[in-house]
Amino acid sequence: MRLLTHNFLASNVKGVSTGYPLALEVAKTSIKEVELNVDFLRGILPKIDWRALFAATSAAGFPELLAAEQPPEAELFAEGAAAVEGSAIRRLHHALLEIHVEEGTLVCPDSGRSFPILKGVPNMLLHEDEVRH
């Protein structure tokens, strides 16, 4: 599971208000490199919950990868930044698309219900008595 997926996934246990963001506990990660796409990052930035992403990168073992607050767009999308090792945009790309959580747990912030992640797949199935009707 990429941290981009974590950024839109929420719990839906009966009675929770938002079920978001899910706290992340990580036992194992992997890194898979993909090509950086500036236009994609530009489009998705306003839709990202930066705090949730920051918390997730820290939980995944990369506490210094992102700034706690979102850097200004002028910095992220500065001409040529994508080619510079360690630039804010490269870090954002790495955080969203290259870090994969292989084993761990997602915890609902409202109910405390935990959802296991096994072989990269979060199990969000609910028990019958947890389903809203």
Binding site: A10, N12, M124
Partner: protein, 229 residues
């Protein structure tokens, strides 16, 4: 990628070995799957560089097709772990990277506007009544751009009406019709999703304009889409 190439690659995927009938597990054939995704990409720009979710991904045909057409991020969602494992295998064989989530679509809770496009071949509801509408309404809730979905032709008018009336779809258009091996007609319908929670108003109207643009464009290309099929 050319249509034929896409169809060829999808034809090589491993299908359900022990399909669970109660979940309506049957693979989406390479013919219809390739045309569905090819049209979504080439007529409407809804795949490449986008975040795409495949609802009821099964062995992953539509998710894999999206990744082959350069979706930036693909999430396949299914209730059944064995299907997800198969989808993973199929993606890995083609060196594609897709995310998978085990979840019952009716209990799915996705936040924000991150998912652009939802593609699906939902259960038709022959085993559990209403399953197709559950998928469709969730798709329209989640997608900020469009939903592409396969339905039985016999349910066409009902589905269109329900999408427009109950699920806030802006439009519901039939893109093409294909005869499935099993003998009934199915079709790809495209739904431009509602944009209720979209950022600023000006942005919202520009997006709906672009959707209207896509729709009128779609009407022109409709003949082409059906002839593809």
């Amino acid at each position: 990628m050319k249509l034929k190439q896409l169809e060829g690659l999808l034809g090589g995927l491993t299908q359900f070995s022990d399909p669970k009938v109660e979940l309506e597990q049957y693979a989406t054939g390479p013919h219809i799957a390739s045309r569905m995704l090819y049209t979504a990409e080439n007529s409407f720009d809804d795949i490449a560089g986008k975040v795409v979710a495949d609802f009821g991904c099964g062995c992953g045909t539509l998710a894999v097709a999206s990744a082959l057409l350069d979706a930036e991020h693909v999430a396949g969602i299914d209730i059944d772990l064995q299907s997800l494992e198969l989808a993973q295998e199929n993606a890995t064989d083609l060196e594609l990277d897709i995310d998978l989530i085990q979840c019952d679509i009716k209990n799915l809770n996705l936040k924000g506007l991150l998912v652009d496009t939802v593609v699906m071949n939902p259960p038709f509801g022959t085993k559990r009544k209403g399953a197709d509408m559950e998928f469709l309404s969730m798709g329209l809730k989640v997608a900020s751009q469009a939903v592409y979905s396969l339905h039985k032709t016999s349910t066409r008018e009902y589905i269109k009406k329900a999408a427009l009336r109950n699920c806030n779809a802006i439009s519901a258009e039939v893109l093409c019709e294909v005869i499935l091996n099993s003998g009934f007609w199915a079709e790809t319908m495209s739904f431009a999703s509602h944009l209720l929670c979209c950022g600023s108003t000006s942005k919202r109207s520009s997006i709906s304009q672009s959707i209207c643009g896509a729709l009128s464009h779609k009407l022109e290309t409709k003949g082409k889409a059906s002839s593809l099929a």
